[in-house]
Symmetry: C2
Subunit: 233 residues, 2 copies
Amino acid sequence: MSAAAPHPVERLAEEDTLSLAERAYRRLRDSIVQGALPAGSRISERSLATALGISAQPVREALRRLEQDGMVVTLPRRGTVVAEFGPERQAEMGRIRAALEGAAAALAAARADDAALAALDAQLQAMRDATAAGKPELVSEANERFHALIHKATDNVFLIRSLAALRAYDHFGRVRALNATPKELPRALREHAAILSALQAKDPDAAEGRMRAHVLRSLEVGGLLPSTRKRPA
Amino acid sequence: MSAAAPHPVERLAEEDTLSLAERAYRRLRDSIVQGALPAGSRISERSLATALGISAQPVREALRRLEQDGMVVTLPRRGTVVAEFGPERQAEMGRIRAALEGAAAALAAARADDAALAALDAQLQAMRDATAAGKPELVSEANERFHALIHKATDNVFLIRSLAALRAYDHFGRVRALNATPKELPRALREHAAILSALQAKDPDAAEGRMRAHVLRSLEVGGLLPSTRKRPA
DNA sequence: AACTGCCATCTGCTATTGCAGACTGCATGA
DNA sequence: TCATGCAGTCTGCAATAGCAGATGGCAGTT
């Protein structure tokens, strides 16, 4: 397998001319996670289509994707409503994300080539600089890019799409985690460095364990993940 | 609830009540995993719609779901082709499934009520009987039902849908795993019992670890998961 | 013969229309 | 007062038609 061969899936990530369905999906998703559409809100394909100035089909397609993501629930011939996801649901999604991020790290360790590792190292350096400068938002950006690079390195469509869906859930919680305490920034940095070293060593199990622990701990700092992880006998 | 009509999650509705899109999705998915549509096959919305005797919209919706599952790749204005998933891809999906099954077990441990635990125990007993009778097919059925019950117990839509998609990938490999060696049946039975005991004890970490190990080992027996995974004693 | 530009035809994408099931509110009857 | 039938309306679902982009073959030129 040549590294020069471009994968067709990578293209749709940054297509300047997105389809209407894709735009509707992102817009709805953001509206839901930001609270503009609270749980229980009824969403009609037609009314939403007219509100967005498009046809009903793209809206329907967006709602289908949101249903797969667990953000809305559709009752046939009844309607579509926004699903409720309180703190405990977000904690669940966080746990799921930890598991999937771990799997992604394991696959990336077995598959990442030198170019991918170099890109990861660059992002790690950017994160180091932002940490030294004490700019949490830049750290957060570099942090997300770091994770996204690992996802991409797996070259697994299912994993990439699933993690993209999960990312929408706890996006704000993740930012909050980094802003929670100043000590958090260097800690996340150290963990990222440890993960990258595992990837460079092509050690799937180490990469998975470290990534998993990293995500779980950041969830704890973010206030999610109640007492499921800590079980002092 | 009575055991007279125990529907597995996926088989609860009969052909007539399902939407055309759902039917097209399952039919295409099965055709792909069974090899009737080999990797690289070009799929046209229109021609497939006429072949199935339905309109193009349900077909399109089915293709979108398959794309989310990673089974087809769509290039805008170009066409839709069946993605390639050889042994190494199946091994990847197996690893991902192990991670998600583990997460499901953890959530189920924290959430399952007595009724769900009783249903699991019933399935375990059915599996025990089938094992004693030496009927791999019945064991496989009970096995899948056991896992499906755990998924359902999580009450997490995203997890349920993701695992349902993953199940399609290695369905045949999983059956093969149980038929591989007679010793495999009681082993899977013991592991299931251990998982259930962790669920009953409301121990998420134990449940996750045991479930994860169970899935990984069954993948090894099934011939997937090459040499990337080394089992420490 | 080799290159180039055009056009028929394919593709996925979107819009429009109509359908059947399910809810709502009012009129009717006891 | 309470129950009940019945439109009118809303819902998601499906079919049809037409759009723009991409492809491949063919004619024309060099």
